[in-house]
Symmetry: C2
Subunit: 213 residues, 2 copies
DNA sequence: CTTCAATGTCAACACATGTTCACAGAAATA
DNA sequence: TATTTCTGTGAACATGTGTTGACATTGAAG
């Protein structure tokens, strides 16, 4: 009984509680809750903190919401960058894209459930931020598409149109993966195969497209 | 002053309040709220009813939620049937489909905002019901696709795969339309054009698909 | 070791929530 | 007209909510 701390009621590590609050919120929202159905007390209870301690880290619940958006998008951007480098060095871009994307998404599941849930569910501010980010993703994919030889002389408008279709298709798949239990590997594999087929079908149409600009 | 009712505090029409509650809920949710952020008091206040009167029509808020799902899906099915008959009698199926769909959706805006918001946002029961309905829509589109001559000898698996891609594409467009103000006609026209291009691109890929079953 | 900012606790606030109960007036039925 | 069934009202409940204020303890900096 040399080092028996009297009472470890205080978490004692310096900046951990803020992260605990963010992660706790993601975890709670990973269930069947939306952000405006999540209460401050429920969250602080879950994190193991007295309600008032919350305000040492966020001025209000709205500010917590903003922090969740920021964190989720930070993860999104990181993922997409990783996926891009994976795909660039690959001989089979489509299947690499799908595999890499879903694999990364699985590692940040709750953050992405948050985005999926709030994309049309929640407050206008969050919705707007998500839509903005989505457009960015689309634009970046358009740039990436332009690297392919047989798309070199396509109009930017048409590239964006293809990018939008591809992003929509992948978003739909990702959302469906998230909507299933993380353990359901069979469903995930099935969805992965479906995503690949969808992308391939889109790609097949591309050479036959006549831009009527 | 022959017919001056003393006080019209009671709405007096027989079964109207239930509908008023449902429509009121849709209207309130059309803003920036999700269902589990909508309170019973807020709703009854909005409808102009005392809180307790609510329980003459629904046993609980959960039951109200179920009623909203039912009503929204009733509208969805009606719309899709109308769209189908429109498309069947058309020489230009794709553009007819898009125009007809968006036009009908506009007429049931708030019901569809509810579906979009709760698809991944809300409680598991609602999510499950929506996913089930989505699959049904997909299956019905697959059947409809089978009517086209050059798809006649396609495998059912591949037909479903195409249907899924098309449904995903249209859902994405509809959701984006719903996310804009109902008055923004310019954005809507733009999205309609985009939807048409997306569908056309998909269709272009179809003849070149080799099923690797 | 002292000092000080960071981070926690406890008590309290004013108010909102979902739901129940006993009651009242209107509409439909007889 | 008398009666019963719907549907609305008012007060009340226990509990939950976001947030504030005054105080305590911790870990790091001087």
């Amino acid at each position: 009984m040399s080092e028996a701390r009297s009472r470890p009621r205080r978490s004692s590590r310096r900046g951990d509680t803020r992260k605990a609050l963010i992660n706790g919120a993601f975890t709670l929202l990973d269930g069947q809750k939306s952000f405006d159905g999540l209460s401050q007390r429920e969250l602080t209870r879950y994190v193991g903190i007295v309600p008032t301690a919350f305000y040492r880290h966020f001025a209000s619940m709205d500010e917590l919401g903003q922090a969740l958006v920021d964190e989720a998008f930070r993860a999104l951007r990181q993922i997409l960058e990783d996926v891009r480098t994976d795909v660039r060095g690959s001989k089979r871009p489509v299947s690499t894209l799908v595999r890499s994307l879903l694999q990364h998404v699985r590692a940040h599941r709750s953050a992405f459930r948050f985005i999926a849930a709030e994309r049309f569910g929640g407050a206008g501010g969050i919705r707007g931020a998500i839509r903005r980010e989505m457009r960015l993703v689309q634009a970046e994919l358009a740039v990436e598409l332009a690297r392919f030889p047989y798309l070199k002389d396509w109009s930017s408008t048409d590239l964006h149109m293809i990018a939008a279709l591809m992003v929509n298709a992948m978003v739909a798949i990702v959302e469906e993966v998230l909507d299933r239990s993380a353990a359901d590997k069979a469903a995930e594999a099935e969805l992965m195969a479906l995503a690949e087929k969808h992308l391939r079908l889109i790609v097949l149409g591309i050479p036959h497209w006549r831009s009527q600009a």
